[in-house]
Symmetry: C3
Subunit: 136 residues, 3 copies
Amino acid sequence: MARLSVKLAADGGAADITDQVQEVLEETSLEEGIVTVFMAGSTGAITTIEFEPGLVKTDLPEAMERVAPTNIPYEHRKRWGDDNGRAHVKASIMGPSLVVPFAQGKLVLGTWQQIVAINWDTRTRTREIIIQIMGA
Amino acid sequence: MARLSVKLAADGGAADITDQVQEVLEETSLEEGIVTVFMAGSTGAITTIEFEPGLVKTDLPEAMERVAPTNIPYEHRKRWGDDNGRAHVKASIMGPSLVVPFAQGKLVLGTWQQIVAINWDTRTRTREIIIQIMGA
Amino acid sequence: MARLSVKLAADGGAADITDQVQEVLEETSLEEGIVTVFMAGSTGAITTIEFEPGLVKTDLPEAMERVAPTNIPYEHRKRWGDDNGRAHVKASIMGPSLVVPFAQGKLVLGTWQQIVAINWDTRTRTREIIIQIMGA
C-alpha cells in the first residue's frame, strides 16, 4: 500500500495523479492485476477524465454545481454549522474509489483518460490518497 | 464472501455498514488488501459519506431528486407499469460497487467517512449486500 | 485480462455485457473473487442497470442531460474545438470502473441487474472494455 498527499484547491480543485500511480505500480514489479485508488475523506473523489483545464476547472465543477448548488440551504449546516454540505453530496455521488486494470506492468487507460483526484471541500485541503495493488 | 441483509426505507433510506464490513474483515485475519462492497440489486447503491442525518436523510436525497425528479414521466413506467424509474436512474449513476483498501487489518477510511448502503427504490426493501475480500 | 470491443451509438448508446463478462469468468475456472470491468476511454462509463429500453434509452440519458445539458457552452469546446464536453462530464461522474463479486464461478448480481457499457460520446464509437479477474 502506498499513500499520496496532494494539496488541492477548494470546490473542485483537481490533480492528475496518473504518473504517480504508474510509479507506485512499477515499484511492485507486478505484471498484471488491478490498482485501487481511494480518496481517504468524505469530501473528495477519484475518477478519470481528460485532464485539460476546460473540463477540469469549469465544465465538471459547473455540472456538479447543478446537482448540489452553492446557494441553497443544507441540513448539514443547520445541524453542524459546517458550510460544506454541497461538498459531501458531490463526493458521495462521484464516489471515493476507482479500480484500474494493468497488464505488462502498465495501467490500461484510454489515450485521453487520466486518473484524477478531486477536492470538493469548501477550503483548500491536503488530501490523502491510498493506492493498493493486487496482482501477479 | 459474506452477505449482509439490511432493511432500508424507500427513496434514499440508508445504513452505515462500516462496522459490519470491518467485522467481516477481522474474521479473515488478512492484513492488507481490498474490500469490495457490492449492492445486489438495480435500485440500490454503495458509497461513502459522513453518516449524519442532515446529509443522509436530506441533502443527498434532495440532490439526487434534482437529477431524477419524482414528478416527471418515466419511460420505465410506460413500458412496465413500475413506479421506480427514478430509483433505477439514481442507483445507476451512483453505482453498486465500492472498493476500500485495508492495512494492518483495518479499513483505511477518513475520520468522517463511513460506508453507506442506500435504497433508492420507491418502497422499503431488505437489501442484500455482498462483501468480498482480497488480500494477504 | 480480456478485452471486449463494443460498437455503441452516440449520447448514451448502451450494451448489456453481462453474458460476455460471465463467459470470460468461466474461462478462468476460478470459483470466488472479483471481476473488474473497466471502460478504456474518457467518454464512456460502466455501471449496472435493469437493462430495458425505457431506462437505458430514455430515463438515464435524460437524467444525465439534466446534469450536463447539450445546449450550453462548454469550456472544452472553446479550448479544443471538441463538441463532446458533456460526454466527458457524464463519463467522469458515472465513472469507468465497476467491480462485481463472484462465487461458485457465477457473478453475484440482483435478478434485474445487468452490467452495462455506455458510450456518452457525441458520435458512434467502438469502445474497448477491459475485464480483469482476481480470485481463487
